[in-house]
Amino acid sequence: MQLPLGIEVPIPTFEQFVFIQVALLTAVAGLAVVISRNLFHSALALTLTFFGVAGVYVFLEAEFLAVSQVLVYVGAIAMLIAFAIMLTRSMMYGRTSPLNNQWGKSSLFAFLFFIGLLAFARATPWPAAGEEVVADEALIGALGREFVTTYVIAFEVLGLLLLLALVGAVMLARDR
C-alpha cells in the first residue's frame, strides 16, 4: 500500500494478520503478569501468556508442542494459584505493589537482554526458514525416537527427578 509522502506500508497477509494478533496478546498478557497489582490476576494473565505461546507453536505447525503446552502449564497454573491462595497473606488480604525501588534498574537490564536476544536471533542462520514443514504423526514419532536414543540420558534424569518429587510428596503427606 502506498501512503502519501512516499511511505511504503506492507499489507500483511491473512496469516501474518492473525499472527500479529496472537503475538500482541502474548506480549500484553506477559506485561500484565509483571505489572498487575493483584496476584490472582497475574496468574490468570500467565495462563493467557501460555495460550499465546501455544498459538505461536500452532503457527510453527508444531501442534503437538502447542497442545502439550496447554496440557502441562494451564493445569499446573491452577495448582499454583491454589497454593498461592493458601500460602500467601498478600493474596488473601488486600493488594500489593508489584514494584519495589529497583524496578528502574531491572527494566533496564530486561531491555538490554531483549536487545541481546534480538541481535542473537538476527545473527543466527535459521536452517528451516522459508521451507515447507511436514507436520503429521511421523514428526511426533521422530520426537519420541529422539527421546529414547539421542537424548536418552536427559530423558531418564527427568524421569528420576519426577520420581523423586513423587516420593518426596508421599513422604511429606504420610500419616506418621
Binding site: F40, H41, V67, V74, A78, I85, E137
Partner: protein
C-alpha cells in the same frame, strides 16, 4: 476407505465458483463452526430432557410432561426463566474472574466439539493430536472453576474450587493413561484414523465391529469411570452436591451465568461420552458404513445412537449410585485406577513387541486386560474384607461417640 473431509469438499466447490482459496476456506470453517456450536448449545436442551426423564423413570415418577409434547420444551421454559432472573454480583467480588469464569467454562467445552468425528469425513478438524487436545482443554474447565471460586468472594465457593482442582487433576491421569492405551494400539492420535482402525472387513464388506473396547475392556472401564469424574457426575458429584452443598464453586452465580455452568456440565458429559465412543466403541463404525452413498449417513446414525446410549448409561448411574466421600474419591483415583492403568500399559507395550501376528496380539491384550482387572479386584476385595474386620472390631462398645471417632481412623486413608 478414502474419505474426503467436508471442509475440503465444500471449499473445493466454492473455489470452483471463483472464490479465492483463503476466502473459501475461511468461509467454510466459519459456517461449519457456527453450525457445530449451535448444535452443541441446542443439544443441551435435549440432554437435560433425557436426564430428567431417565432419572424420573428410575425414581418411579413420570418426569416433565406439561410443556410441549412429552415435556420436550420444559428446558426451554427453564432457560426463559433463568434469563429473566436478576443478575447478582457479590459484594467485593473480583469482577474479571467472576464474569469471565462462566464464559470460559462453556468455551472450554465447545472447543472440544471441533475434533469429534461425527461421520466419515464429518469432523470439524481432523487434528493430528486430537487425543491430547481433548485432555488439554479439560484444564480450561479447571481454571474456570477456580476463577469462579476465587472471584465470588465467598470462602465456601473457594474451598469448593480447590476441591474441583483436586478431583479433576487426579482423574485426568487415569483418563490420559486410558487414552494412551488406544494411541499405543492404533499408533495415531488422529481421531479419524483411530475410528478407521476399528473397522472389521469380512469379504470386502465393512462390518464395522472391530471395536477397541472389546479388545481392551479394562481401559474402557477406566476411561468411563474417569470420564464420570471429569464430568462431575454421580458418584463423583461431590463437587456440586446440589441438594447439600448448594452447587459448590458456582454458589454465588444466578440467572444466565449459572445456566452457563449448567450447560457446560451437561455438554461436557455428552462430549466425554462421544470421546469414549470414538476411542473404544468404534465411533461411526457399524455394519454398512463402507457403502458409497448411504454409508456416511449410516455412520452419523450409528455414532449418535452410541453416544446417546452412553449418555443414558451415565444418567442411569446418576440415578442409582450413592455419592462417595472426598477421601474415597482421591483414594480410588491414585491407589486403584492409576496402578491398574500402569499395569495395563506395561503389559500392552510388552505384548505389542512380541513377534506374533496382530490377531494373536489382540487376544493377548484382551487376556492381559482381564488378568490385570482380576488382580486389582482381588486385592481390593481382600482390602475391603480386612477393612470390614477392623471397623467391626473398632465398634466393640466403649462408648458410642468414642467408637465412631475410632472408626473414622480406620477408613480408607
Amino acid at each position: 476407505m478414502q474419505v474426503t473431509q467436508w471442509s475440503e469438499a465444500l471449499s473445493g466447490w466454492l473455489m470452483g465458483l471463483g472464490l479465492p482459496g483463503w476466502a473459501a476456506i475461511t468461509l467454510v470453517y466459519a459456517v461449519g463452526s457456527f453450525i457445530l456450536i449451535n448444535y452443541g448449545m441446542l443439544s443441551v436442551l435435549l440432554l437435560i430432557w433425557i436426564t430428567r426423564k431417565a432419572i424420573s423413570r428410575i425414581q418411579d415418577r413420570i418426569g416433565p410432561n406439561r410443556v410441549g409434547k412429552y415435556g420436550l420444551l420444559q428446558t426451554a421454559a427453564d432457560a426463559a426463566k433463568l434469563l429473566s432472573k436478576e443478575d447478582i454480583t457479590p459484594y467485593e467480588a473480583d469482577k474479571i474472574a467472576y464474569n469471565l469464569s462462566p464464559v470460559l467454562s462453556v468455551f472450554g467445552v465447545l472447543m472440544l466439539l471441533a475434533v469429534i468425528p461425527f461421520a466419515p469425513g464429518l469432523t470439524g478438524v481432523d487434528l493430528n493430536v486430537a487425543a491430547l487436545y481433548i485432555v488439554a482443554l479439560g484444564s480450561i474447565g479447571i481454571m474456570a472453576a477456580l476463577m469462579a471460586g476465587w472471584g465470588s468472594n465467598n470462602k465456601y465457593a473457594l474451598l469448593a474450587g480447590f476441591r474441583v482442582v483436586a478431583q479433576l487433576l487426579s482423574y485426568e491421569i487415569p483418563l490420559v493413561l486410558a487414552v494412551l492405551t488406544v494411541v499405543l494400539l492404533t499408533g495415531s492420535m488422529r481421531f479419524g484414523q483411530i475410528v478407521e482402525m476399528q473397522s472389521l472387513h469380512l469379504g470386502g464388506f465393512n462390518l464395522g465391529l472391530g471395536w477397541l473396547g472389546v479388545v481392551m475392556p479394562g481401559a474402557l472401564i477406566v476411561f468411563f469411570v474417569s470420564s464420570l469424574a471429569e464430568a462431575e457426575l454421580t458418584p463423583f458429584d461431590l463437587l456440586e452436591a446440589e441438594s447439600e452443598l448448594i452447587a459448590g464453586f458456582h454458589i454465588e452465580y444466578s440467572g444466565m451465568k449459572f445456566a452457563m455452568f449448567f450447560l457446560a456440565q451437561f455438554l461436557n458429559a455428552w462430549i466425554l461420552a462421544a470421546v469414549a465412543v470414538t476411542l473404544f466403541l468404534g465411533g461411526w463404525q457399524g455394519p454398512g458404513v463402507g457403502l458409497p452413498v448411504i454409508g456416511p449417513l449410516l455412520g452419523l446414525v450409528y455414532f449418535m445412537i452410541k453416544v446417546y446410549g452412553v449418555y443414558v448409561l451415565q444418567q442411569w448411574i446418576r440415578g442409582t449410585f450413592p455419592r462417595i466421600r472426598i477421601d474415597q474419591m482421591m483414594y480410588f483415583a491414585w491407589k486403584v485406577l492409576v496402578p491398574l492403568m500402569i499395569g495395563l500399559i506395561v503389559a500392552q507395550a510388552i505384548i505389542q513387541k512380541l513377534p506374533t501376528p496382530v490377531a494373536v496380539q489382540y487376544v493377548l491384550i484382551f487376556i492381559a486386560n482381564v488378568g490385570v482387572m482380576a488382580v486389582v479386584a482381588y486385592v481390593l476385595q481382600k482390602y475391603f474384607r480386612e477393612e470390614q474386620m477392623r471397623t467391626k472390631r473398632s465398634f466393640e462398645p466403649t462408648s458410642l461417640i468414642g467408637s465412631m471417632q475410632v472408626s473414622e481412623k480406620g477408613t480408607m486413608y
